[in-house]
């Protein structure tokens, strides 16, 4: 009985997550620690893979979809000095009393195409700190030790003022520098903006979305003259308008 295949809804996280008791104390095995965000994204990828397999299965009679996915993971939990939650999957070497359970339920929902964020808006989330040429390499290495490796993770961290102070103290940097780097990362969310262009703007003294949004005509001409090899007036005007939109 042949039947025309239809698109099936792709599952996305629409479930509930419960993180139960943090019981782990002392030092956890360094090599096994996994940031919680990575654990959940790994689950998402596995779920995506099984859904892709189901939707591409050559079966004429019925289509299948992952309706629900649950996991109750036995883990040891740890918060590092920068507040990043780390998980260590339980193994036989751990005492049961030191193990917590993370329960996560994912339900499949159809994606609404008009609600999907523009691709460019996700750039800052996925950009590796190691790719940001305006960040001191020593700082990138230090942050990596605390499991902070992407611009998205850095922005999440500094959004909490308590950690901003802690970062400055731990990494021996100025809070003003942290703020400037974060603002430059936010520029990556503007459509079409690249890491290299953010660096050029930084060299010109433009560090924030607000800086861009408030550029006057004269300033744009001046900036274009100073970076005539890399920036055009049209590009600057386009970014200024995008920055204004971002601030609305």
């Amino acid at each position: 009985m042949p039947a025309k295949r239809r698109a099936v809804p792709k599952p996305s996280i629409a479930g509930r997550a419960q993180e139960t008791v943090v019981t782990a104390k002392g030092t956890l095995p360094e090599r096994k620690k996994l940031p919680a965000a990575d654990f959940f994204s790994a689950l998402q990828r596995n779920l995506d893979a099984v859904q892709r397999q189901l939707s591409s299965a050559n079966n004429a009679f019925a289509d299948f979809v992952v309706k629900e996915f649950k996991i109750e993971a036995a883990v040891q939990m740890n918060l590092n000095e920068l507040g990043v939650l780390q998980l260590v999957p339980a193994d036989d070497t751990m005492s049961p009393q030191s193990v917590s359970r993370v329960s996560l339920t994912l339900a499949a929902v159809a994606k609404m195409t008009d609600e999907a964020p523009p691709k460019d808006m996700l750039r800052a989330d996925a950009t590796a700190l190691a790719d940001l040429t305006w960040l001191p390499p020593r700082l990138v290495a230090q942050l990596a030790q605390y499991e902070v490796k992407t611009a998205g993770e850095f922005l999440g961290l500094v959004a909490d003022a308590r950690f901003s102070t802690q970062i400055a103290s731990l990494l021996k940097v100025q809070r003003a520098d942290i703020g400037r780097w974060a603002n430059q990362m936010r520029l990556l969310d503007l459509p079409g903006m690249t890491v290299q262009e953010v660096r050029v703007l930084g060299d010109l003294g433009i560090y924030t979305v607000t800086d861009l949004a408030t550029l006057g005509e004269k300033a744009i001409v001046d900036l274009q003259r100073r970076a005539s090899k890399t920036l055009t007036k049209e590009t600057l005007v386009k970014w200024r308008e995008a920055a204004k939109q971002a601030l609305l």
């Binding site: 996994l34 019925a62 299948f64």
Partner: protein, 109 residues
């Protein structure tokens, strides 16, 4: 990765394959059916499959600066292992449950 550890994606892929294979078998039965089967005019759909896996999760991630996705692996616990571990073993085990549902067969109803 020890011998019993399997990437979680492979475990889930096996579940998906099992569901699709079961459905294909049902399709084949329906297509083969003739007068000798009492339910000859009917066809069947695997409406929902629930699988619960009990085992040990582990994760691997490189220590490099690059953003690299970790890989989750899963080692199923067999009955002998479970009994040897006793009650403490249950606390160390993880449970993965997946429900797969058939959606609106176009020719149903």
């Amino acid at each position: 990765m020890s011998r019993s550890e399997t990437p979680l994606s492979d475990v889930l892929a096996d579940v998906a394959r099992a569901v699709v294979s079961t459905q294909k078998e049902l399709d084949a039965q329906a297509n083969r059916s003739s007068g000798e089967l009492p339910l000859a005019p009917l066809a069947f759909v695997v409406k929902q499959t629930d699988v619960i896996l009990l085992g040990n999760l582990s994760a691997q991630r490189s220590d490099s600066l690059a953003v690299q996705d970790p890989a989750l692996t899963f080692a199923l616990v067999n009955r002998v292992q479970a009994s040897l571990r006793g009650s403490g073993g249950a606390a160390l085990s993880s449970r993965v449950s997946v429900s797969i549902q058939a959606i609106e067969p176009p020719h149903a109803g």
